[in-house]
Amino acid sequence: MGMTIGEKILARASGKDVVKPGEIITAKVDLCMSNDGTTHLNIDIFENQLKAEKVYNPDKVVFIVDHNVPSESAKTAEVHKKMRIFAQKHQIPFYEGTGVCHQIMIEDFVVPGQLIIAADSHTCSYGGLGAFGTGVGCTDFTSVMHTGEIWLMVPETLKFIIEGKFKPGVYARDLILKIIGDIGANGANYKIMEFGGPAVKDFTIDDRVVLCNMAVEAGAKSGLIAPDETTIEYVTSKGRQDMHLFTSDEDAVYEKIYYYNLDELEPMIAIPHCVDDVVPIKEISEVKINQGFIGSCNNGRIEELRAAAEILRGNKVDPYMKLLISPASKAIYLQALSEGLIDIFVESGAMVLNPNCSVCWGSCQGVIGEGEVLLSTGTRNFKGRAGHPNSSIYLASAATVAASALTGKITDPRGAVQ
């Protein structure tokens, strides 16, 4: 009986030839990452509960300050200070203000076939490069930082076979919203979501990360796409070599297989307050928005910024709303500058923010007031996540946010895209 990509990565990490769903393994972790959302607690556990003195291997640990950047209060500044001092003491690679943690990991660290755990739920993003990433809490993270190992239950795998091509105005973001809407917010609970099929070879790295990043919104432990020429080219262009190119066996066992045809896909939107309340945008009419946001670990990459710029070029944001745009990393920000995208954004009336988690996480920038509506490319539309408990969040693609920013209400981007 064959194995899926995910099972092969977990077998390699646990030193076994074969693993099966339901089996509990102890795996060696290739990398672990933590951000300022929880690291202050990690450090407390490490120093005061574990009473540990050394991290197992500083080269395999990364600290990234991305949630409250720059700090908005003295208390947050103390958290960042604590992180900075700990990282320096243990010689851990440390990033501050250079982008969203998952984008930095993809640009600077992730290699196909790795097992990566991080203290953030969207760690599943790394499946876009064929690595098994999974999010954990601070006790798990701290234990890994100390021992280099973690216990894991091998999950079942769901396969999503995708064919066809994206039509103009329709993006990977619409596909993952459609899938989550279909299977539900716990439709993949504890499982791997493996994306494959003939359409995947045409997917860019950005598309692949968009799909895998949101796997956790269906409850998944990880999202995965088999590495191919596109992956190898991306990883080697970053100067990284040692990769394990696992693909699923022909006779691998899946719990369930789903089929999607991109030729039939249209722009989708998640309505408040759950990520699985998804409908085609054409079913939404006359929803006025107070703020748009383009950014986050899901949708702040160069391709999304280009799609938004195409729509905003030469046009003005509705004067009675705000549009906030945050590139996902410094590299993306610089790329957008060199392509003239930032000029387009600023001239249209958008506010361009430094690379960070920003509005998506709803604690530092761009929070909204009572009764206000946010249309966001962020990862979640939970009640109150973007500010006042009685505010609403809709989720859609960067193109949809841009098109809607011009009209001040939720708008299908297909009318604005060539």
Binding site: I24, G37, N68, D120, G137, G219, G362, K383
Partner: protein, 163 residues
Amino acid sequence: MIKLIKGKVWKFGNDVDTDQIIPSQYLLLPTVEEMKQYTFEPLDKDFASTICAGDVIVGGENFGSGSSREQAPLVLKALGVSAVVAKSFARIFFRNAINIGLPVILCKEVYDDVQNQDTLEIDVQRGSIRSVKSGEIFTSTTLPAHVMNILKAGGLIGFLNQK
């Protein structure tokens, strides 16, 4: 050994997410003690001031969905919640709760039987839940041995320190 649990019920619905349990803006407070007063603030502002030590949370499907923030089970534990019983749990919340020694119990049937302020008696190791009001006894899913050992040690740190 895990002690038998007996506590009053606080009942919630489906898809209770981590932002509802502890909103983002309180996560970077220096300690869990400072965070816990904001537990469930978007759903019930008075929750933190009225819950009693030993009380039990009963949730529907997908309890704890969303963020990996361990602050979510930590604030519940800090308020004295003795267990969370739900129809299903989001993966990371479930794992985080075990790791901090907060019993999380899977049981579909008890949800429809109980109301707020009913009392439940829970035997985590045997996998049984008794409603004091109705007298009904429900079977819950027991944990794999490895996971139960972590819970018995009071959480992952206790488990690692035992080794």
